[in-house]
């Protein structure tokens, strides 16, 4: 009989091991809570860290999107042998706007007048030309000259531009209106004054129908441009409708440096693609003759920032999980020491070392699982609250949240190994003289 009983070693069914562990946890909920607190906090921080990494990453991407280039400059590589019509196909603006990502596009060029350009708020009667002031503008775009007269005179560059250009630079008006298709069609002698020029000329109230003389040609100032992007030089320039400029002074003379260009405003992030497509819109047969310029974007910097952020949060997450694991290990260790009489009793009534090992690890893993579930929920809640407080969009990857409870269970299992080995080595004879706490 003894032989038969020896040949049948005691055994613990896996379901019973889990059941015993669950019963032990439920018997002492406060102890279970303290034990799983480490995992809870560890997993919560892990999920929060990863969630914050993705949320902050999304926010960084969004912030950088506002700094992505939104303007594309296009010009011709070769200079035409003689002044001719604007070297861009008719209906270019409409064709460019048909491209995905293009908001506005327009042609512009600096006027290079043979004679000094005189800009005066009030013309001197019968004074075509006159004794010169200082010749040439500050940027050397023309030999413009301001004739002293009763009104204020200043030197300033003059730009010929299509209405699409004004949309492309997002021109904002301090007062007045922009010129449009009607002004183009009728070659209206109107112009826009940049805010700097207008201030220099003393033009502030357009209700007085202020006019400027450009090379003695009168133009009514219909608007004062107070803000522009992409081509901020218009703030200290006078802008004429391109059709009017062509009618008055002829087509742009490329040899004189009046190279017409196209400015395109795109949606954030679309500049690169538009820059690749636009040459084909302008010249289908010779797109290589088109020069495209896009300012460098912050994409690489964004990727570096994102990479640094993600790796920082990853490290923080893993460190917190490791701390949680150590925490559960220490509490489990204390718990096992406190319950040594119980494990001694179990050994005395037939439990093998491996049964005690399985019991403690099961308990620890279940506590880890509970901590993981609660921690993942807490982590998601923290991410949502933080994101809402900052006005960000919370981004939580399912791959970081869903396996978190299993991660907690794994951490608990890992944390339970050493305490379980200690429990399995308990000698029943040494512990049975103590009172059972459980």
């Amino acid at each position: 009989m003894i032989r038969r009983k020896i040949s049948q070693p005691t055994r613990l069914r896996p379901a019973d091991a889990v059941g015993e562990a669950c019963t032990a946890i439920l018997a002492k909920p406060a102890r279970a809570l303290v034990t799983s607190l480490g995992t809870l906090l560890g997993v919560a921080w892990f999920v929060t860290a990863l969630g914050l990494a993705s949320t902050a990453g999304g926010q960084v991407t969004s912030d950088f999107a506002h700094r992505l280039p939104t303007h594309v400059w296009i010009s011709q590589k070769r200079v035409s042998p003689a002044p001719a019509a604007v070297p861009y196909p008719a209906g270019l603006q409409q064709r460019l706007r048909a491209l995905h990502g293009v908001i506005a596009a327009g042609v512009f060029w600096p006027l290079r007048l043979g004679r000094p350009l005189i800009v005066s708020a009030r013309p001197r009667p019968g004074a075509p030309g006159g004794p010169g002031g200082p010749a040439g503008t500050a940027d050397g775009t023309a030999g413009n000259r301001v004739t002293p007269g009763p009104g204020t005179a200043r030197r300033a560059p003059v730009i010929a531009a299509s209405p699409g250009f004004l949309a492309a630079v997002s021109a904002k008006l301090g007062s007045g209106r922009l010129f449009g298709a009607w002004d183009q069609a009728h070659h209206a002698q109107v112009c826009l004054a940049g805010a700097v020029v207008a201030r220099a000329l003393g033009i502030s109230d357009l209700r007085l129908q202020r006019a400027v003389y450009i090379d003695d040609v009168p133009c009514v100032v219909i608007g004062i441009v107070s803000h522009a992007t992409g081509q901020r030089s218009i703030l200290w320039s006078v802008v004429l409708p391109s059709a009017t400029a062509t009618a008055l002074w002829g087509p742009p003379d490329e040899r004189a440096g009046a190279m017409p260009a196209v400015l395109i405003r795109t949606r954030p992030g679309a500049a690169g693609m538009v820059a690749r497509q636009a040459p084909f819109v302008i010249s289908q047969d010779r797109p290589d003759q088109v020069l495209v310029r896009v300012p460098p974007g912050p994409g690489q910097l964004r990727d570096q920032v994102l990479g640094t952020l993600t790796s920082l949060f990853f490290v923080l997450g893993w460190v917190s999980l490791a701390i949680g694991t150590l925490s559960i290990a220490s509490v489990t260790w204390l718990s096992v020491r406190e319950r040594s009489a119980e494990f001694g009793l179990r050994r005395a009534v037939g439990a093998r070392r491996r049964h005690i090992l399985a019991h403690v690890i099961c308990e620890s893993a279940i506590l880890g699982l509970i901590g993981g579930l609660a921690g993942a929920s807490l982590g998601v809640a923290v991410i949502i609250l933080l994101a809402r407080a900052r006005g960000w969009v919370p981004v939580v990857a399912p791959l970081t949240v869903l396996p978190a409870p299993l991660g907690g269970a794994a951490a608990g299992m890992l944390a339970g190994i050493i305490p379980a080995m200690f429990a399995a080595r308990i000698q029943p004879a040494e512990t049975l003289s103590r009172s059972l706490a459980m």
């Binding site: 003894i2 032989r3 070693p9 059941g19 019963t23 037939g350 439990a351 000698q427």
Partner: protein, 290 residues
Amino acid sequence: MATESLSGRGAARQTRALQETLSGRGAARPTRALQETLSGRGAARQTRVLQETLTQPISRPSAHPLIELRGAGVTYPGRRSPALCTVDLAVRHGELVTLTGPAGSGKSTLLSVVGLLLRPTTGSYLLNGLDVTRLGDKDRTALRGRVIGSVFQRQQLLQSRSVLDNVMLPALYAGLRRQQRANVAAAALERVGMAHRMHALASELPAGEQQRVAVARAIAGNPSLLLCDDPTASLDQEAAAHVIGLLVGLHKAGTTVLIATRDQLAAAHSSRSLALGPASSGTFAEDLSP
């Protein structure tokens, strides 16, 4: 001791196997070697005796005493004086033996040795003729779980668990399903008259009832040997009488019972009463039986 006698007789392979078994190397290996040894091959007389003995039901009369200690002694590591020294003891099947002695005489240590909770550091222990001194942990645990029932000095109940859960505990490690465990435990509680409290928490019971539950836990696996370490120590007279009556009843039902006690009532009901002298004396005291 057993290894020496076996090697002296020159029993070839079987003897070597038994030697390996008794050397306690590994857990699975001793069992396998023991089974080989006990398979009947070989001519060693000791092996034959073991084989015959072990194939008999342990509760039936046998040529061997159920418990046989040969010069068994225990000295805890780091201590000079032994907790138990050189005890020679034999308890036959079906006996109710009480162990008496002053505090510190080694009664609990002796019961721990007999209950396979402690290995003797000197001498040997034969359980029904089988030297279990050097058996591996797995085999000793199997014997502890299936052959021996123990009632400890303190009740040692899991206080936050129900009475039923406590009594089911040994059956948990016998691999029984929950319903089977519950049936076994309920039957044991019935025997000790505690079936009506099976769903109560252990902590809710008075000391006397807790001790009866501890007895129920010890007998739930229907052990051949019941060891009780001062089972009436913390009980009042009435409760103590109840528990002693319970143990006497189990003895009459055929269970071999060994009780370490200072209770004269238990000694009065025993087949034999043995007095254990101070551990320092190094000898087993006299048989006080009439």
